[in-house]
């Protein structure tokens, strides 16, 4: 798929912000979940998106990834406006996502999950099963550090532990070499050692010159990993601070104030 189909060519290819949302609105029926979001991610930056349950974090990232179409507003990726809002299109542009819901299919094998929606095929659409299995195997052992012998690329996802499922979801996002990786509560339900792996991985994104959006409710996870914190409150951006401007304790304090008074200060 060509990029030109997805974007208008008004801007030059020079860009300073990897991703930018301008005045994005999204509602479900009468519920206005996003109300005028202005948000951006720089090149080589990890942005933490924080906010209460139901603040609209998942909805925000789903408008970026094309799961939802914004009712109003514009989204730019690498300086070019995204006009076709579909998951296939955003993946083609270089946005990979680890969804809160993990987006796996339980009865399917690991290798089918790994390549869902992006199968390696020949011109007739016949899947190169051998290659998909090999790549899955490599990814599981090398990148995600799966050690259990009981798990193979043919294992159905339903038999995996929570951490292993998350490993598959993250491995999948890794494989496709994205410019922007979105992680929606990737550490949810994970043990300490599994969490550490995810956090190490998040930090390594920057080393590869890529960017990430990281959503979590745990400030001990977010603070060390992120460069910048964007606070979302009931569908609006309530704050945007760089790590250099705020200590972890201050951030926690201000979030508590926000929950109490509705103001981030």
């Amino acid at each position: 798929m060509s990029d030109s189909a997805a974007v208008t060519d008004k801007q030059t290819t020079e860009y300073d912000k990897l991703l930018e949302m301008r005045d994005v609105h999204k509602s479900f029926g009468h519920v206005n979940v996003l109300q005028g979001i202005n948000f951006h991610v720089n090149k080589c930056e990890i942005v933490a998106l924080v906010g209460d349950n139901g603040a609209g974090k998942s909805t925000l990232i789903k408008t970026i990834t094309g799961v939802h179409r914004p009712n109003k507003g514009e989204i730019y990726f690498k300086g070019k406006r995204i006009t076709i809002h579909s998951v296939a299109q955003s993946r083609a542009l270089g946005i990979e996502t680890v969804y809160q819901e993990r987006a796996l299919a339980d009865q399917q094998s690991m290798w089918r999950n790994m390549f869902a929606g992006r199968e390696i095929t020949n011109k007739l659409g016949i899947i190169n099963v051998k290659k998909e299995k090999l790549e899955t195997e490599r990814l599981l052992r090398d990148s995600m550090g799966f050690t259990s012998k009981a798990i193979t690329v043919d294992s159905q996802v339903m038999f995996l532990s929570g951490g292993e499922k998350q490993g598959v979801a993250i491995g999948r996002a890794l494989y496709f070499d994205a410019e922007l990786i979105i992680l929606d509560e990737p550490t949810m339900g994970l043990s300490l050692s599994e969490t550490k792996k995810v956090l190490d991985f998040t930090r390594s994104i920057k080393d590869h010159g890529k960017s990430a959006i990281f959503i979590s409710h745990n400030f001990y996870h977010i603070y060390p990993a992120a460069d910048r914190f964007v606070i979302l409150d009931r569908g609006k951006i309530a704050g945007d601070v760089r790590k250099s401007e705020i200590t972890q304790d201050d951030l926690v304090q201000k979030m508590e104030n926000l929950a109490r008074t509705g103001v981030f200060e």
Partner: protein, 320 residues
């Protein structure tokens, strides 16, 4: 260390294979005279392909966790189109093209109800089942169409001729369909999408799979296959009749479920459906020639279905 467990689908395939051969051994023991001769297999080869092709095609919809009950009516309506176009133009090719196009369009109508409007597939296709049966009764006014004139065309021989004087051509179509659907479901991108959508629709959407498109194509191919079987079954007897296909509904669905495909979606076996169709299709003749009276037929059908689906349900429970 645990022994690597056998995958559920392989277990299902194995059990249907065992059932299939057991039943045939039983037939053989009961009446070796009939089952050691070619005649009965010849008759199987000419009749079973109709329900087998239908069952193979419907398997894809069942893999999506959905249902299509309208295919026998679509079959009849497209077969009427086939007969009418042929008798009016004398062109087999044109008749075939019109017939398949109409069947595909009927499938598309189902997909509009299910995918766009959001009617559950079982309910939607109950509606279209009556609709197309009613339509064919109206347009045919209860009368059949004789197609004896089609017998000396090339396409007639290609569809239902006797290869080498002995093998019914539709048998080869059935084998081809089984191979096609087998590759499609387990080795083709589309099959992978079917499995993923049937398993978890939300996940599929989040992975960029066009869920609506997958469902639409699934219903359309059932329509196309129903039309194709409509052609085969019409030509086999060189006669169209408006109640055509009515007997295929339950036997085709029984073949799918006896084969081990789950009604919940996300899994399916083409080998299972294929063997299921052979089993269901040969049961009647098998029972009769075993010396049991015709009264036994439905009873044994029922027993077979109940036992096999119970076995599969038990297997499913155990793996969790």
């Amino acid at each position: 260390m645990l022994k690597k467990p056998m995958r559920l689908e392989h277990k299902l395939d194995l059990s249907i294979l065992i059932v299939f051969f057991s039943v045939f051994i039983l037939f053989f023991i009961a009446n070796p005279g009939v089952f050691s001769r070619f005649d009965i297999y010849y008759s199987f080869m000419s009749t079973i392909p109709f329900i087998a092709i239908l069952a193979l095609s419907v398997t894809l919809v069942v893999v999506l966790g959905m249902m299509d009950l309208s295919f026998p009516s679509v079959l009849a309506f497209s077969a009427w189109v086939f007969g009418t176009v042929f008798t009016n133009t004398g062109s087999m090719l044109l008749a075939v093209i019109c017939c398949i196009a109409v069947g595909t369009a009927c499938g598309f109508v189902n997909s509009i109800l299910v995918v766009r409007i959001g009617v559950p597939s079982l309910v939607a296709t109950i509606g279209s089942m009556f609709f197309w049966r009613g339509a064919v009764n109206m347009v045919a006014r209860g009368r059949g169409i004789s197609l004896v004139g089609a017998m000396d065309t090339f396409l007639f021989r290609a569809f239902v001729g006797r290869i080498g004087g002995v093998i019914p051509a539709q048998f080869l179509w059935m084998i081809a369909a089984a191979l096609f659907f087998g590759v499609l479901l387990k080795r083709h991108r589309f099959g992978s999408h079917l499995l993923f959508v049937g398993d978890n629709e939300q996940s599929a959407a989040m992975m960029g799979i066009n869920v609506k498109r997958v469902k639409t194509i699934a219903f359309m191919q059932v329509g196309a296959c129903a039309a194709f079987v409509g052609i085969l079954s019409t030509l086999e007897v060189t006669y169209f009749w408006p109640s055509q296909g009515q007997g295929y509904l339950m036997s085709a669905l029984a073949a799918v479920f006896v084969g081990g495909t789950s009604v919940f979606g996300g899994m399916g076996t083409i080998l299972g459906t294929f063997l299921g169709a052979l089993l269901i299709g040969s049961l009647e003749a098998g029972i009769i020639s075993s010396g049991l009276s015709g009264f036994w037929i439905q009873f044994i059908y029922g027993l077979l279905i109940m036992v096999s689906v119970s076995t599969y349900a038990t297997m499913m429970k155990k793996r969790g």
